[in-house]
Every structure is written in structure tokens, then in C-alpha cells.
């Protein structure tokens, strides 16, 4: 059995992962207690001396925005992962035209900024669709006039491309002996994939997948630039209405830190539930 899977270096450098979580007892060191006291004083100053009277008025909208952000995160992560599995698989075993296609897709999406892809879909396709009467009359038109489908499409495509690369590595990294053993048991190709190859690949990729999900959360505020009302857009609205520069942004940073923390704790819980032999 190979060693316990670890997060990809770059993903780990850009996103908090469960391995970074501090333990409860690590806070009870003398210098840390002093630092925590200083931090508490800082937080007190921020709460006391800055303007927070706008919060009650915007609280319902903030809650709604957080819901939208989470909905964006989970829908695009799940859809993106479902796309990533075939993308990774054909790059390992597929016939060469599919392999080249999947590789090209991953390269193009990973090589351009997400903001550009988002604007390409929203402004580019969004301005193209109304020119076709067939699309205007189809049942999809009410949705295509909204902005969120473009946000979901762009985030899904981007997640699929990054994950496709991760899954390619994971599929290729499953030891050949395990697959040979499954074949020796007389498993069909589909059974082998379902019972051995996919679970082992996901197990290997899991820490990186968790990190990439945190990165996906960090990418969601971009949809606010195409008028989706997520938590970032609500905060922008607050800043426009009240002319307060820093307080809303600090609250926004705090909200994202809390969301990330919840996500990371959830992942640690999940990772601990998956048995690893040999560690």
C-alpha cells in the first residue's frame, strides 16, 4: 500500500487544507495567549471605533447572498467533478482524438483567467443568443436571460478543467497491480472501473479535491461582476449606498474566512472517516 495521499503542492499553497488546522491544545502556550490577547484588543478596537450601524438593515440580504454563494459553490463543484471524471479518464486510457480533445480543453481553460471566461460567456454568448429566433422561442430562453446560468457554466467549466488534470494524475497513479488483480478476478471493464479504479483514484485525489473546493469558494465572488447577487455583490451594494470603504470589506473577509473554516472542518471530518490502511 502506498503512503497516505497528500495535497498537491500548489493547491496546498493557495488554499487552507485540513492538515493546516491547529489543535486545541496548541493555543495554550504563553506567547500565543499574549498574541491572542493582542488580537482580541484589535478586534475590540475594530468593533468599537468603526461604523457597523448598517449591519441590521442589510442582514437579510447578507444571509441571502451567503446562500447564493454556497449554492454556486456546491452546484458547480458537483457538476464540475462529474465532468472531471471522464476528462481525467480519457486522458489516461482514451483513444487519441478524445485524449487530445480533453487535453486541449484543460490547457485552454487553465491557460486563461476565469474572469475572462465568465465575461466571454455572459457578454459574448449572451449577446449572441438573442439573434437566433429559435433560441428566443425555446423553453430555455427565460433562463438564458438571467445571469446566473452563465456564472454556473463558467465556474463549472473551470472546476472541471482543474479537476480533470487532478483526476488524470490520480487515475494514472493507481498501482497497475491493483487493476491487474481486479482483471484476474474476472471483473468486467465497468465493474473494475466502478469498484477499483474510480474509488482508488478518488481516494488518492481527495486531499487535492478538498483544496480545490476551497479554491472554488475563493473564485465564486467573480460572478458578482456579471450581476449575480452573491454575498460579494451585497457588500458592494452596501459600499455604494453608505460610502463606507473598509468596514463592509472587513466583514466580507470575515464571512469568507468563516465559510472556508466550515468547509475545511467538514473535510477533516470526512477524511477521518475514510479508513487508510498502513498509516
Amino acid at each position: 500500500m502506498s503512503e497516505a495521499p497528500t495535497t498537491d503542492v500548489t493547491t496546498h499553497a493557495m488554499a487552507i487544507t485540513p492538515e493546516d488546522l491547529p489543535t486545541a491544545e496548541s493555543f495554550f502556550k504563553p506567547h500565543r495567549i499574549v498574541l491572542l490577547a493582542i488580537a482580541a484588543g484589535l478586534v475590540f478596537c475594530i468593533v468599537w471605533f468603526m461604523r457597523w450601524d448598517w449591519i441590521p438593515q442589510y442582514l437579510p440580504r447578507l444571509g441571502y447572498g451567503i446562500m447564493i454563494t454556497l449554492a454556486m459553490l456546491f452546484s458547480t463543484s458537483i457538476l464540475g467533478f462529474l465532468l472531471a471524471v471522464p476528462l481525467g479518464l480519457v486522458q489516461v486510457t482514451g483513444p487519441w482524438p478524445l485524449k487530445a480533445l480533453a487535453k486541449g480543453f484543460c490547457t485552454v481553460i487553465r491557460g486563461t483567467p476565469l474572469l475572462l471566461q465568465l465575461w466571454l460567456l455572459y457578454y459574448g454568448l449572451g449577446s449572441l443568443f438573442p439573434q437566433f429566433p429559435a433560441i428566443r422561442q425555446s423553453f430555455l430562453w427565460p433562463y438564458l436571460r438571467e445571469s446566473w446560468p452563465y456564472g454556473i457554466a463558467a465556474l463549472t467549466i473551470s472546476f472541471a478543467a482543474y479537476e480533470g488534470e487532478v483526476m488524470r494524475g490520480a487515475f494514472a497513479g493507481v498501482p497497475a497491480g491493483e487493476i491487474e488483480a481486479a482483471r484476474a478476478y474476472g471483473m468486467s471493464r465497468w465493474t473494475l472501473f466502478r469498484r477499483i479504479w474510480l474509488p482508488r483514484a478518488i481516494h488518492r485525489a481527495l486531499p487535492t479535491l478538498n483544496g480545490e473546493t476551497v479554491l472554488q469558494l475563493k473564485a465564486t465572488p467573480l460572478v458578482a461582476t456579471i450581476t449575480v447577487i452573491d454575498v460579494y455583490a451585497v457588500i458592494s451594494k452596501v459600499r455604494q449606498d453608505t460610502y463606507i470603504t473598509y468596514e463592509p470589506l472587513l466583514l466580507l473577509a470575515l464571512i469568507y474566512m468563516c465559510l472556508t473554516a466550515i468547509l475545511v472542518f467538514a473535510f477533516r471530518y470526512l477524511e477521518n472517516r475514510i479508513p487508510t490502511r498502513g498509516t
Binding site: V9, T10, H12, A13, M14, A15, I16, D20, K29, H31, R32, L35, T107, V108, R110, G111, T112, P113, L114, L115, L116, Q117, W119, L120, Y123, G124, L125, G126, S127, L128, V214, L217, K218, A219, T220, P221, L222, T225, Y232, T245, Y246, L249, L250, L252, A253, Y256, M257, T260, A261
Partner: protein
């Protein structure tokens, strides 16, 4: 206009003023400048941060941990907005205190600063991992020769960690080039923003966004090519791990 090729008005991409090609290329140059500046600044912060995290006292270590944790938990877009306003305000405040008066900070400097701070945290993590991958025996040997800590750093640790750090660092370079697009949100005229302006005033959205995509992709592919050469050089004499 039956010919499908003529649907696309290529003349919009011409380099001279009626076309927008020159504007796009200038935007690309701005993006590259910010990416290089931000990456270099991030690298300096990263070397400092990694050394602080590995060799610093307990307080330095905790402060570094806070820095990297915050940057890794908050979206780049939010950080860029915060740093952009806070950074320019703080600088003007300091300059006002010492009596120079307010200066208009150029978007370029502010952009390099915010991208650098974000990249610095990522670089810290990459370098910390790479330094930890250097076999302890090599560092101990250097110490046994009587080298000063600074000499151990420059002669042994930094050169020995490079092969471990280069894959992560090259990914961070690609991320820096793409993160410059986020500066469009604070109104810095880099490639993505000028593309949107060009597209908005000509209504040829698809053409311009695809053109900008091609420019970004070219930048990535050229970088990839260079990175591969550097990687091959850095890994000379390394046993290939399978």
C-alpha cells in the same frame, strides 16, 4: 455578406486606432508588467516568509502563519480590493504625516503591491515545503564545516531546494499572470478590462474576448515552454522519481 468569414470584422483587431489591436497589446504589456513585478515582490516576501516560518522565533512564526492563513482563506478579489484601498490610504496617511502631502499612486505600483502580497503568501508555502524537502544531512554537513547561518542559506539550502520548488513556483507564475485579470475590477487597464471596453464600444463581444483569450493562452504556453527548459536545467543530476 453570405460568406461566413466576413461575419467576423477582422479590421476591428487592426493595430492602428480605428482597430483595437494596439490597445489590446498595450493591455497585455500592462498585465505582463504587473505579473512580473508582483511575482518578484511575492518571491521576496516568500523567501522572507519561509525563513521566518522555519527558523524564526515563536512570535514571528505565528505572525507568518496568520498572514498565509488569511491570504489562503479569503478570495483574491476581496484581498485585492482591501489592499488596493487600504494600501493607497495608508501610504498617503504616512506621507501626510511626514509632510510630503498626498501623492497619486499609479495603478501599476498598487497592482504590483496587491498581487505581490497575495503571491507572497503562496510562495511562502511553496518554499517552506521545498526547504523542508532538503535532506537534513546536507544542512548539518554545511554547519559542521563552520558556515554561518547566512552562508548555509545561500550556499546550501537555497540552491538545494530549487529543484523541489520549481514546479510550485512555475505554477505560481502562471497564477500570477491570470490573477492580474482581477485588477480589472478595481479599474486598472490591463488586458481583461481593455478587452471589455473594446468589446463594449464595438459590440463585437465574442471576437474581442476570444482575442484576449488567445493572448493569455499564448502567454501561458510561452511561459510553459520556458519553464520546461528551466526545470530540465534545475533537475540535472537528479534521480528521476517515478
Amino acid at each position: 455578406m453570405a460568406d461566413p468569414v466576413s461575419f467576423i470584422n477582422w479590421s476591428l483587431l487592426a493595430l492602428e486606432p480605428p482597430g483595437w489591436g494596439g490597445v489590446l497589446l498595450r493591455g497585455l504589456m500592462n498585465s505582463i508588467e504587473i505579473a512580473i513585478g508582483g511575482y518578484a515582490f511575492g518571491l521576496m516576501l516568500g523567501v522572507g516568509g519561509a525563513c521566518g516560518k522555519l527558523y524564526g522565533g515563536p512570535i514571528t512564526r505565528d505572525l507568518m502563519e496568520c498572514y498565509t492563513t488569511i491570504v489562503r482563506a479569503v478570495p483574491e478579489l476581496v484581498l485585492i480590493l482591501l489592499l488596493y484601498y487600504a494600501g493607497t490610504d495608508a501610504l498617503n496617511y504616512v506621507l501626510g504625516m511626514i509632510g510630503i502631502g498626498e501623492v497619486d499612486i499609479s495603478g501599476l505600483v498598487a497592482g504590483i503591491f496587491v498581487i505581490g502580497v497575495v503571491q507572497g503568501a503562496y510562495t511562502t508555502e511553496v518554499l517552506r515545503g521545498a526547504i523542508k524537502a532538503v535532506p537534513v544531512g546536507q544542512i548539518e554537513a554545511a554547519r559542521a564545516y563552520g558556515m554561518s547561518p547566512y552562508k548555509v542559506m545561500t550556499r546550501v539550502t537555497l540552491p538545494a531546494m530549487l529543484p523541489y520548488a520549481i514546479p510550485g513556483l512555475s505554477n505560481l507564475w502562471l497564477i500570477a499572470t491570470k490573477d492580474t485579470a482581477l485588477l480589472a475590477v478595481v479599474g486598472f487597464s490591463e488586458l481583461t478590462l481593455v478587452t471589455r471596453q473594446a468589446a463594449g464600444s464595438t459590440k463585437a463581444y465574442l471576437l474581442f474576448f476570444c482575442a484576449a483569450g488567445v493572448l493569455y493562452l499564448t502567454l501561458t504556453l510561452v511561459s510553459d515552454f520556458v519553464i520546461r527548459i528551466i526545470e530540465r536545467r534545475a533537475r540535472r543530476g537528479f534521480v528521476e522519481q517515478s
